[in-house]
Symmetry: C2
Subunit: 369 residues, 2 copies
Amino acid sequence: MIWNDDIMKERIERIFDCVEEELDGIILYNSTKPHIDLTFYYVTGLIEGEFEGSAVMLYPDNTGEILTSRLEEESAKKAGMPVTAIMKKDERESWLNKNLDDMGRIGVNSTELTYYAYKNIKKATDAEIIDISDAVIEARNIKDEEELKRLRKACDIASHVAEDIVGFIEPGIKEYELAAEISYRMKKLGATGDAFEIIASSGPNSAEPHYTAGEKELEKGDFVVLDFGALYKRYRSDITRTYVIGKATGKQKRIYNTVLNAQKAALDVIKSGAKGSDVHSKAAQLIDSTEFRGKFTHGLGHSIGLSVHDGSGLSPSLDITLEANMVYTVEPGIYIPEYGGVRIEDDIVVTEDGYELLTDADKELTEIN
Amino acid sequence: MIWNDDIMKERIERIFDCVEEELDGIILYNSTKPHIDLTFYYVTGLIEGEFEGSAVMLYPDNTGEILTSRLEEESAKKAGMPVTAIMKKDERESWLNKNLDDMGRIGVNSTELTYYAYKNIKKATDAEIIDISDAVIEARNIKDEEELKRLRKACDIASHVAEDIVGFIEPGIKEYELAAEISYRMKKLGATGDAFEIIASSGPNSAEPHYTAGEKELEKGDFVVLDFGALYKRYRSDITRTYVIGKATGKQKRIYNTVLNAQKAALDVIKSGAKGSDVHSKAAQLIDSTEFRGKFTHGLGHSIGLSVHDGSGLSPSLDITLEANMVYTVEPGIYIPEYGGVRIEDDIVVTEDGYELLTDADKELTEIN
């Protein structure tokens, strides 16, 4: 797949535009997995390839140049940028020296660059090193059409499975079997992987937001929280649905509907210009006005994209003003220790007047008999 | 699951022992996913939890102390170390200040620490910062019994699926469907995830070592390379088997048997005291003595553990002397552009006299009709 140069140039331009300082160049420099700068994929558009130890130089005229190993040379060429392919470590040093030596000011992405890689950059140049990580987050936070296309597909796959999996759930199935089934169904629909480790928690386990999946069998009376997403062409969706095994009790219904209402309250205020912290507050205030006060224990949402936590969020501690084409999760929850929990999560694109819902799976309370 | 303090103390001690300088402490400090220091899991033994923005301080008396968010406090406590749980960013700064302020020399793991996190550490202390990443790799490279137990299980799952998947392969199946099926079968056997993105390449695609899986249907005459591994309690296996769809041609048989012989030649010289580069050479020399000279284009193997590339390798460019309880992949391959490729990969533990084979799936040439 040959990339559209214009899209890549626009992305590179967007990063330079977000940096206050005048730079001679930017270097994005990967280490060993998992310490790969996802911005490498953002500016190259590449899908296939691991690119450990690879780097990309970006220049103020919005061009780029890739360093990679001989092994991934063919993959790297698909970016349509000049590629230097090396076999040995000292060739990497020469490349760094040659490219960085005469620069006065170089940008690095400190939140995705290892300290080790930083030291290698310092060795190659006396240039001033400028941390441009805020600019990278700012640039990546507003998605372009190609990114939205991939996110929509990743969300479609997850939504489809969220509805479809209901037919598979029954008492006696183990949490990890449910996780395996979800992953399988997403991949059959074209996902290249799970966006993150799948959460399939039931009964008391559902009260732990970060529990993944264990040996427990689903039982009558359980809440079942399924939190998963599809990886599609490097972009990640993230959806959560909660079901009840058997007939829901009055308390279960009250918890569920409170979370659903909290999500609605938050969605209602999302639009370009809204403050992220206010969106969070709408959901939190609704929950805190009920008997479940204090049981919503995390931020309302996070941006998604190349990463499942793409650098921004809807949270009381973050100062974010929403803009069109930002993509966030909206995921209020209520967690009652030793009893259980409910979380409902959707992915949305911010628009001028509101939002576009990316995950449209049904979310009325579903009782599984 | 409460962890055995002795195992953790031994791991912490092993790291301090591998550092030349006298240190007042070591800080391992995670950023946002995927930029998590896997050594955090090594010294805490924790399985569940993401631990973004979390840190662990290690002291020369082999004790430790965890900083995490309120959300993951319960998960963190399972490590059996003191836990400080925080809600806000400035509480993290206070914790860093309190713990680092009076230290003279602090170790950091530069290959898994972001430059951003490093800057936060620098802000909190005037101490000398010592890069201990070589010591961390050295310590982690020799596995203890608990690690071997998890690796054996991860390898068992992958081996089982490598044999079992033969019954599923047939012409007309798409590469990505095969990848989905492998993942599903591993999870049904207890894997918590894929160790890495599954490679299911067929026909000419199999000539690209880092191709993953696409839309191509398996056809008669194809080589099918399946490269996958199980994630089990945070440890990762890595196996490759190559099959032929239909009757193998003479050339296919020669390629396959050359790779198999190359692997045997390498395995034969593995034992404590052997040089990793010599093990690589045995395989490379065997291939280069045939008509497939120059077609083995990557290193012979890499250490596995918490990461699928755990920091060390069997390669001409690395100076490694094997020791008992190191765990490596052994994976020669022959790649013929536009035609196809064969790779055969197993995981082994180095022993005093040789090696223990962890992946025992059959590897005679299998023709699928």
